[in-house]
């Protein structure tokens, strides 16, 4: 039931995910953070099988951190995305695969460009200007098609994101009530209020 969105703009990537932790029809928690900071300029929103998600996200987080400690500089977003995709693809072909879907947003401090990757549990990866996972994607992608502008300033990006969230609230029967929104740009990662 998780819903997550992400979109790029001029020098930033916005990542949003709902904050509900549910089991069957019961909402267990309303303030769960499903967006991990993997580095000073890298965000990952995760959704999928409860349990798998947190386990996999922590595995990724710690390995990316280890790379940073070992090699003096962090992985750049395209390389991190490739490595995470491979981890999922390897996991899919193991005895106990993770079923986790990811949105990976990062800002490359060596080329000064924002990057966004859509990755699913099968190890599919796509470089995209905007992306969504879960039921929300059925409503949001058409809106993003219409309103997304890769050169938009942060306020416009947030307005587009708000449109998506509002549409999901209006049309989806099991719409989540609250979202957490994070932005990554040249200054790093911060949380924003809608």
């Amino acid at each position: 039931m998780d819903v997550s969105f992400a979109l790029t703009g001029k020098g930033y990537v916005l990542v949003a995910a709902d904050t509900t932790a549910a089991r069957s029809i019961v909402k267990m928690k309303g303030d769960e953070d499903k967006i991990k900071s993997l580095g000073p300029h890298l965000l990952m929103a995760y959704s999928g099988e409860p349990g798998d998600t947190v386990n996999f996200a922590e595995y990724i987080e710690r390995n990316i951190r280890l790379y940073q400690i070992r090699n003096l500089y962090p992985l750049r977003p395209p390389s991190a995305a490739s490595w995470i995709r491979r981890s999922l693809a390897d996991s899919l072909r193991s005895r106990s695969p993770y079923s986790v879907n990811l949105l990976l947003g990062g800002y490359d401090t060596s080329t000064y460009t924002p990057h966004l990757y859509w990755i699913d549990y099968l190890g599919t990866m796509a470089t995209v200007p905007f992306a969504a996972h879960g039921y929300g994607s059925y409503f949001a992608l058409s809106l993003l098609d219409r309103y997304h502008d890769p050169e938009a300033p942060l306020e416009e990006g947030l307005a587009t994101l708000k449109r998506c969230i509002d549409e999901v609230s209006k049309r989806l029967v099991v719409a989540p009530g609250k979202y957490k929104v994070k932005v990554v740009d040249k200054d790093g990662i911060r949380e924003v209020e809608l």
Binding site: P78, W83, T111
Partner: protein, 263 residues
């Protein structure tokens, strides 16, 4: 028992020295000179070939195969070239290791290996041979000229002990002291590739034992950015191109030098 402390790499002498490593470095200081200069828009490498002779079959080197034609300059990855000084067989083994390490990085991260990381990989291997028993260290020093998005163009040097360091211009092999003092005098910050090529050839012609430079004694390579794709582009010169370059810089063979010309 005067030679108690120099027969094995793993044993310190009472003065705290590791003789085998010092001997390895000594072996390198007799090898052909390799010179590297870092410019703001590229890196230049040149190497002196020691194995020459009239009867040596150089037909393989004429065309230049993948990864260089010679014995001293190699392509390690699409963004790194290296010049080696020391025991050629050891160098071949290290070059093979470096190429494998670079491809492994490409496989895992879908990016060219950063230059310093490749240097570290090789140094980890070289360090191992100074510590574990029964083996001699690699008798090879390398210069790595490379490009990556983190620090743009870079030039590194590594020695048999596993130490490495970054340089603006440096030299390994025979006469490296002379070459380094020449480089110290002539190097300017903000030098570009065109000037660096001239500087390298000039220093090379002064430090090499032979009187005239020619493609049979010299290997040459540059690493620049392709203006169209903005990707690093390594160019290892073919013998004919080296001769043309020497002629352009007025360091090539003069006609009267050529033997048997008049007869």
């Amino acid at each position: 028992m005067a030679r108690r402390y120099d027969s094995r790499t793993t044993i310190f002498s009472p003065e705290g020295r590791l003789y085998q490593i010092e001997y390895a470095m000594e072996a390198i200081s007799h090898a052909g000179t390799v010179l590297g200069v870092l410019a703001k828009d590229g890196v230049v490498l040149a190497a002196e070939k020691k194995v020459t002779g009239k009867l040596l079959d150089m037909s393989g080197a004429r065309e230049g195969g993948y990864g260089g034609s010679g014995e001293k300059i190699f392509l390690l990855n699409s963004n790194v070239i290296s010049g080696v000084a020391g025991i050629a067989a050891d160098a071949n083994s290290l070059v093979n290791y470096a190429r494998t390490a670079a491809q492994r990085h490409l496989f895992l991260y879908n990016e060219d290996i950063p230059v310093e990381m490749l240097t570290q990989r090789l140094c980890d291997l070289k360090q191992g041979y100074t510590q574990f028993g029964g083996l001699r260290p690699f008798g090879v020093s390398l210069l790595y000229a490379g490009y990556d998005p983190h620090y743009a163009f870079q030039l590194y040097h590594s020695d048999p002990s596993g130490n490495y360091s970054g340089w603006k211009a440096t030299c390994i092999g025979a006469n490296n002291g002379t070459a380094q003092s020449l480089l110290k005098q002539e190097y300017k910050d903000e030098i570009d590739v065109e000037e660096a090529v001239g500087l390298v050839l000039r220093v090379m012609s002064k430090t090499m034992d032979s009187t005239t430079l020619g493609s049979e004694k010299l290997e040459f390579a540059t690493l620049t950015l392709d203006p169209a794709t903005k990707q690093p582009k390594a160019k290892i010169y073919k013998p004919s191109e080296i001769d043309a370059l020497l002629k352009k810089h007025d360091l090539g063979k003069k006609d009267e030098d050529t033997e048997m010309k008049t007869t």
